[in-house]
Amino acid sequence: MRVLGLSAFGRDAAAALVVDGRVVAASAEERFTRVHHDPAFPRRAARWCLREAGLQPRELDAVVFHVKPLRQFERVLACQLRAFPRSITTFPKSLFTWLGDRLWIRGRIAGDLGVPPEKVLFCEHHAAHAAAAFLPSPFEEAAVLIVDGAGEWACTSLWRGAGTTLQPLGEVHFPHSLSLLYSAVTEFLGFPPGGGEQRVMELAALGAPRFLPWLTELVRREDDGSYRVDQKPFRFAFDGERLYGQALCDRLGSPRAPGAPLRTATPDARDADLAASVQRLAEEALLHLAAGLYKRVPTEALCFGGELALNPRACARLLRDGPFRKLFIPPAAGDDGAALGAALWVDAAAAGAGAPRERPAPVFLGEAPDVTELGGAPLAGERAVLTALLEHLQRDGMVGWVRGRGEWGPRSLGHRALLADPRREDGRARVNVAVKRRESFRPFSPVVPAERAAEFFDLPAGAEWPLRWMQIAVPARPRTREMLRAIVHIDGHSRPQLVHAAEDPALHRLLVEWDKHSGVPVLLHTSLNQRGDPLVRGAEDARALWERSGLPAVVVEDRLLTREPAAR
C-alpha cells in the first residue's frame, strides 16, 4: 500500500511516504521553503516525496491528513463562544482562516496533488502522534504517552501499543494543555512559541524554580493520573497569537520583549527563574502522567511523542525518575512527525496485525545533496574527505559537513552538521560568531562514538535510542566538564549523540581519527544553519550558508568549499 501522510497548519508542515510498511521518504516543508517551522500546506515536500519514490500521484492508495478538520473546527468554535465577549477580536481571525482554507482541505489536497478526493483520508491528530511514536519503535509492546499542544480536542493521550495495534486508553481535552502552557511562558519570556521552547529549557539551567509553587497551583494533578490547567492567566484557549493573559503579567510583572536583555543574574534573575520553574513544572507533570500510565500499562517500555517530547531535560527526568525502564522518542516528535504517523496509522490499519514493520524506521529520510550544483573537482575518495575535515578542524576549529539524505526531525544527526573542536575555551563563542549567532547561554551538543561515550558522560540505562538522536540531557563526567567546556551546559549536563560504527561508519571514523589527533573522540556538533533558518537542504543551501557566514569550510559529499584554495 502506498500512503502519503501530510501535516500542515500547525507548527511544522511535513510530508511522509510509506510504501508497504516501509518509510520511503519524509521531509518538513521548511527544508524547501526555507521558512523555519513553516506551517504552510506541504506542497513541495509532498511532491519531493513522490519524486523520490518515482511515483505519480495517481499511483497513491491514500493521502492522509494528520487531523480531523471538522472536529478541530468544532473545538475552535466552541472555545471562541466560551470566551465570549473576550473573543471579539480573535473570532474573526480564527473564522477567517478556517472558512478561507482549512475547512476545504480535502479539496485542497485533491487539487494540489492531483488525487481523487475519495483517496484523501483524515487521521486523528493524537492517533497520528501515537503511531509515529510506537509503530517505528524497536518495541513489540509499550505504553504510549502523547503530550501535545492541541489536536482536535485531545491535548494529552494514553495508549497501549502491541505488535501493530494501538489501543487508546484515555485523553485530556483542550484547553488543559501542558504543551501550550509551556508555550505561553515561552512567549512571556520573549521567545517565539512553537520554536523557542528549547531556549526556555536551556535558560532554565541558569535559574532557580522560585515560581514553582505558584505554577503548581495552576496545574492541579488529579488522583486518577490526569491534571487540569487553570485558564485564568492564559489566553491560548481562544487566542492563537497571544497565549498569556493579563493575570500572568499581574503575577510575574511585565513580559520580556523579544531581544531585550535576559534577566538571569541576581538581584534580578526573573527570566531564568521563570524558565526553571516552568521546566520543573513540566517535568513533574510528565512524571505524574507516566505514573498513571504505568498503572494502566505495566510494561517496561515507554514511547513518548508530541511537542513536549522535544524537551531533552524532561525526557531525561522521565527516564530517571519515572516507572518505565526504556524510552523511545521518534526523531520527529512534533507536528512534522504527525505526517509520518498518519501514514503509518492507515498503512497499519490496512495491512493488518501480522504485517511486517520496519523497526526502528530509518532517520535519514530527506533529500540528498546534488553536488553537480557546486561544480569543481571532487576530492579523491573517502580518505581525502576525512583528511579535509580533520585539516579544517585542526586549523580553523570548525567545519561544515553535508552528506547523504537529510535528517527527519528538527535535529542534525551528522548529515547536515557543523562540527567543531570542543577543547577550545572559546569554541562556543567562535561557532556563534562565525555561523550560529545563538544566545550566549545556549549550549552546543557533543558527538561521540557509542563505545567511548561512558568515559565522558553518565549514561542512563534504557536510553539506547534517545542517545542516538540527541533526545535526552545527561550529566557530563567531571573530566568532561574540565576538558570540554564548549559542550557542557552551565548545569553540568550535555545532550550527546552516540554514533555506532555499523550505523554511521563515516562519522564514526572521523571521531576515531579526531581522537588520534586531539586525544578526545568528541566533537562539538550542531545543526548546519544560522539562527532563524532551517537546517540546510542540499549543496546550494550549504554554499549559500558558507558564503554569508564566517564558516571557514564546508564539505558537501566529496566537494570542498574553502576560503583558502591552498588548503586542498
Partner: protein, 270 residues
C-alpha cells in the same frame, strides 16, 4: 508628488517615529535583502554570460551586506530600547502583525520574497532577459524607497548613514541592469527587452492590485464576522459562557488500528 507617494511618505514618517516599528522595519529589510542576496547568488551560478555573472555576484554580495547592516542596526536598537518594545507589547500594540512596517513592499513580512516578486529559481523559469528586467524594475523602485527612508531618518545619523550607503549600491544596481538591457537591445533583442520590462512593470502593478483585493476582501470579511459575532452569535455566546470544560480523562472516540476496522473511521473529517 503623486497621492500614492504622499501616502507612502506619511506612513513611512510615522513608522520611523515609532521605535518599535523602526526596529521591525529594519528587521524586515534585513530579511528581504538576505532573501534577495540568496536568490541573486543562485541566479549568478546559473547564467552563462561571464559579464552578467560578475554583476549578479557583486549584486548578491551587496544585498547580503545590506542585510547584515540592517540586522546589526536592529540589534543595536533592540539592545538600547528593549523597554519601548516591552511597552508596545504591554499596550497591546500588535507590532509583529503590523503590515505597514514593511515599507519596502507594503506587504507583511510573511508575504515578502525577493524584491517583492522574485522567488528562488525564477531565473530557470524565465530566462536571463526577463530576470534582469525584473531586477531592474525592482531596483528602480528600491532606490526610490531608500532615498525616501534616507530623507526621513536624518535625525538618526547611524540609520541615515546605512541608507546612504545602500542608496549608492542601489544606483549601481539600477545602472548595471540598465546597461545589460541596453546591451541586449543593441544586439537585436529590442522586442524581447521591451516585452520583459513591460511584463515586469505589469506584474508589479498586478501584484499590487491583487494584494489590494485580498486586503479589501479580508477586511470586509472580518467586519462581517464581527457583525455576526455581535448579533447572531451573541445569545449562543452568552449561553456558552456558563458552560465549563471538563478536566480529567475522557474516553477516546476512536478504535484501535486493526485490519479493516479503523479504515472506515479515517474516511470522515469528523
Amino acid at each position: 508628488m503623486n497621492p500614492g507617494d504622499l501616502l507612502l511618505r506619511a506612513r513611512s514618517r510615522a513608522v520611523w517615529a515609532d521605535p518599535a516599528r523602526t526596529l521591525l522595519t529594519l528587521e524586515s529589510f534585513a530579511r528581504t535583502e538576505a532573501d534577495g542576496g540568496r536568490d541573486i547568488a543562485s541566479a549568478a551560478r546559473r547564467v552563462g554570460d561571464p559579464e552578467l555573472r560578475r554583476h549578479l555576484e557583486r549584486h548578491a554580495g551587496d544585498e547580503l551586506r545590506h542585510a547584515a547592516l540592517f540586522r546589526r542596526r536592529a540589534e543595536e536598537l533592540r539592545a538600547a530600547g528593549g523597554a519601548s518594545m516591552a511597552a508596545a507589547s504591554a499596550a497591546g500594540t500588535d507590532v509583529a502583525g503590523d503590515a505597514a512596517y514593511d515599507l519596502s513592499r507594503g506587504r507583511p513580512a510573511h508575504e515578502v520574497d525577493t524584491h517583492g516578486f522574485l522567488s528562488i529559481g525564477l531565473l530557470d523559469e524565465l530566462g536571463e532577459v526577463p530576470y534582469v528586467a525584473m531586477l531592474h524594475v525592482a531596483e528602480e523602485r528600491a532606490a526610490k524607497l531608500f532615498k525616501l527612508h534616507a530623507d526621513l531618518t536624518r535625525a538618526d545619523a547611524t540609520t541615515h548613514g546605512i541608507f546612504e550607503t545602500i542608496l549608492r549600491d542601489e544606483h549601481y544596481h539600477v545602472a548595471w541592469t540598465r546597461a545589460m538591457l541596453d546591451g541586449w537591445r543593441a544586439h537585436g533583442r529590442r522586442d524581447e527587452v521591451k516585452r520583459a520590462l513591460k511584463d515586469a512593470r505589469q506584474n508589479r502593478l498586478l501584484g499590487a492590485w491583487k494584494r489590494l483585493g485580498v486586503r479589501a476582501g479580508g477586511n470586509f470579511g472580518r467586519v462581517a464576522l464581527v457583525a455576526l459575532y455581535c448579533t447572531v452569535l451573541l445569545p449562543f455566546g452568552l449561553l456558552a459562557r456558563g458552560g465549563r470544560d471538563k478536566p480529567g480523562w475522557r474516553a477516546p472516540r476512536r478504535t484501535a488500528t486493526r485490519a479493516g476496522d479503523s479504515l472506515a473511521a479515517v474516511r470522515t473529517q469528523i
